[in-house]
């Protein structure tokens, strides 16, 4: 019988420091492993525990998978101590990813904050690979300070891509060091011109940013049917069995993690 809880082994082949508390781990799975952008995996540390993460690499890259992880709790603290060559476990992929097909011939507005850029990097790389299919892609990304921006070097490459606009903001910084916007990420939405009739928005970030980001998108005129949220809950089994990621009648692990806002907008505990 197939054991749905059994992880496969993966080797840590590279570690990149992204910021003071965020690292990207490049994993080489021991077996064939593929995913759809936006789906997540369970990352398992031998004898320590498992945590859910959405891969940050392009699903077109099949030899290795990148997982970008912020140090935020017990398991992530231990993950940050990993070294090249260490063996970890991965299970998945789980859940529903971004519905790319529904974005074809549309303008795609990406709204990201902090480490929420991790799944969005995978999503962005997926769009970039087939950029001709979309009218326009706009990335609005906010971080606390210039030092907290992740994928710093890659932004330079992304800026060169045609049909991709990038706007960035930082919450605060000393004068003179930052030439782009200052303020919370929602301030970028005032600077973006979108064709509301033909646009979709994708939001991923910390809960508070998701809440106000979505509110702002609605104010700007987006329909709840055109906003997709990457929800974060305590996805423990990833299979719709253990109950921990319950969000109203849904399980984020199997019904999400990507939800159409319209589907969940009336849930009382949505932003809790």
């Amino acid at each position: 019988m197939k054991n749905i809880y059994q992880p496969i082994k993966a080797e840590v082949v590279n570690i990149t420091d992204e910021s003071s508390n965020i690292k990207t781990f490049t994993l080489k799975p021991s077996e064939k492993f593929s995913f759809v952008t936006g789906q997540f995996i369970e990352f398992s540390l031998n004898g320590i525990g498992e945590s859910p993460f959405t891969p940050s690499s392009s699903p077109y890259k099949t030899e290795t998978i990148d997982v970008t992880i912020m140090r935020a709790g017990y398991v992530t603290e231990k993950i940050h101590q990993l070294k090249k060559g260490d063996i970890v476990g991965i299970r998945g992929p789980y859940g529903k990813g971004y519905p790319i097909e529904e974005m074809v011939d549309k303008e795609v507005l990406i709204l990201g904050g902090g480490v929420g850029m991790a799944p969005l990097r995978s999503f962005l790389l997926t769009l970039v690979k087939q950029i001709d299919k979309f009218k326009k892609v706009t990335l609005c990304y906010g971080s606390k300070s210039p030092e907290d921006i992740i994928y710093k070097s890659e932004f330079e490459d992304w800026k060169k891509i045609k049909k991709l606009d990038i706007l960035r903001s930082v919450d605060k910084c000393p004068e003179g060091v930052w030439k782009e916007s200052v303020g919370v990420v929602t301030c970028l939405l005032d600077k973006v011109k979108v064709d509301l009739k033909n646009s979709v928005a994708i939001v991923c970030g910390p809960p508070i940013m998701m809440k106000f980001g979505t509110k702002k998108l609605l104010e700007v005129g987006f329909s709840p049917k055109n906003i997709y949220l990457s929800m974060e809950k305590n996805m423990s089994c990833g299979l719709g069995k253990c109950g921990h990621c319950q969000l109203g009648p849904y399980f984020v692990c199997k019904d999400g993690p990507v939800f159409l806002y319209d589907k969940i907008k009336d849930l009382e505990e949505l932003w809790d």
Binding site: M1, K2, N3, I4, Y5, Q6, P7, S44, L45, N46, G47, I48, G49, E50, S51, M70, A72, G73, Y74, V75, T76, G89, P206, P207, E232, K233, N234, S236, C237, L239, G240, K241, C242, G243, H244, C245, Q246, L247, G248, P249, K254, E268, E269, D272
Partner: protein, 330 residues
């Protein structure tokens, strides 16, 4: 449904012949008023019981243990569980939905389920906490068993539902006789009596038919008041056979175990970084009522409460779900 008759003496012979072939679990009396499942042996055979009503320990323990290894898998021995009641069969149906439904089948649960033959029995009385008849249930099984026993004087009417059950009876067919109309009439009378008893015990509880609607309105003050007495021990969630939540733990060599968990515990839904979607007691309390009466109804078509009343019995704060549902219905 096909049925047979067996007298008490032959029933004992039947049980005796199964010991050794299967791990047989039967009900035994505990502290006069309660029942629990124990392994049947040649020594305790004569004190084994069918039980007037359900056991204290929830049936889920057989299929989803409080602690069990989930990686790697191990095989389980064939077993028979005797004395399972209608409310517990309904529990199993609900657990089947969770563990075997959807895209993934839980291999640990499936193995346990596959290797178990269930001999259920009609209730012949009820506890003060029993309320199946007022929440879509009945005190006698109509589905979900392999074999069902309907106790009558000096024996049982034996109902055969599954192929597994049929084989077991066929292998021991000299112990069984044809049923006569008097047996069935007597059993029907018993069923009606027990159902009326359950209704009588619950005559003061008047809750709405559509419990999914009852738990929907925010009613923040009411939830706060209801949850006030709750000490969040999790006892009601662990005693509840429809609660399936579990926590996964790791040991060396990527071995994994799972443990019962409960949405009433504060850390249950917390994520790394400290954010907690259900940070207050009343939010957690309401969530479990929503899960039982609304979400499961929406996802699987039935309430995740079968009226077994274990949560009422186990609660140190004497919270009675029937009173809560009555208040919510007002």
């Amino acid at each position: 449904m096909e049925n047979r008759y067996i007298n008490n003496q032959n029933w004992q012979n039947f049980l005796l012949s199964q010991i050794g072939k299967y791990d047989v679990f039967s009900l035994f009396s505990q502290d006069d008023a309660d029942y629990n499942y124990s392994r049947l042996t040649t020594q305790n055979l004569n004190t084994s019981l069918i039980g007037k009503y359900r056991s204290t320990i929830p049936l889920k323990s057989f299929f989803f243990s409080s602690i069990e290894k989930i990686v790697p898998l191990s095989s389980k021995k064939q077993r028979i569980i005797i004395g399972v009641k209608a409310c517990e069969l309904a529990h199993l149906q609900l657990l089947d939905n969770m563990f075997l439904g959807g895209e993934y089948r839980d291999p640990v649960y499936e193995e346990a389920r596959k290797n178990t033959l269930i001999i259920s029995a009609d209730c012949t009385s009820c506890k003060n906490s029993c309320f199946c008849s007022i929440i879509e249930g009945l005190p006698y099984p109509t589905s979900g068993f392999d074999i069902n026993l309907r106790p009558i004087q000096n024996g049982f009417v034996v109902e055969i539902l599954s192929e597994k059950g049929r084989k077991l009876i066929d292998n021991n067919k000299w112990l069984f006789q044809d049923t006569i109309q008097n047996h069935l009439d007597e059993s029907e009378r018993n069923r009606t009596e027990v159902n009326e008893l359950v209704l009588k015990v619950n005559k003061d509880f008047k809750f709405a038919k559509l419990l999914n609607e009852v738990v929907k309105p925010p009613k923040a003050d009411l939830w706060k008041e209801v949850a006030k007495e709750c000490v969040e021990c999790g006892g009601c969630r662990f005693a509840c056979s429809t609660c399936y939540c579990f926590l996964i733990g790791e040991t060396k060599n990527f071995e994994k175990y799972r443990f019962w968990d409960a949405c009433q515990f504060k850390g249950y839904a917390r994520v790394a970084g400290g954010s907690n979607p259900r940070s207050t007691k009343e939010k957690r309390y309401r969530n479990f009522y929503s899960c039982k009466m609304n979400y499961r109804k929406e996802n699987f078509g039935s309430y995740a409460c079968t009226g077994c009343g274990r949560c009422i019995e186990v609660c140190p704060a004497e919270i009675d779900i029937r009173k809560v549902l009555t208040r919510l219905s007002e």
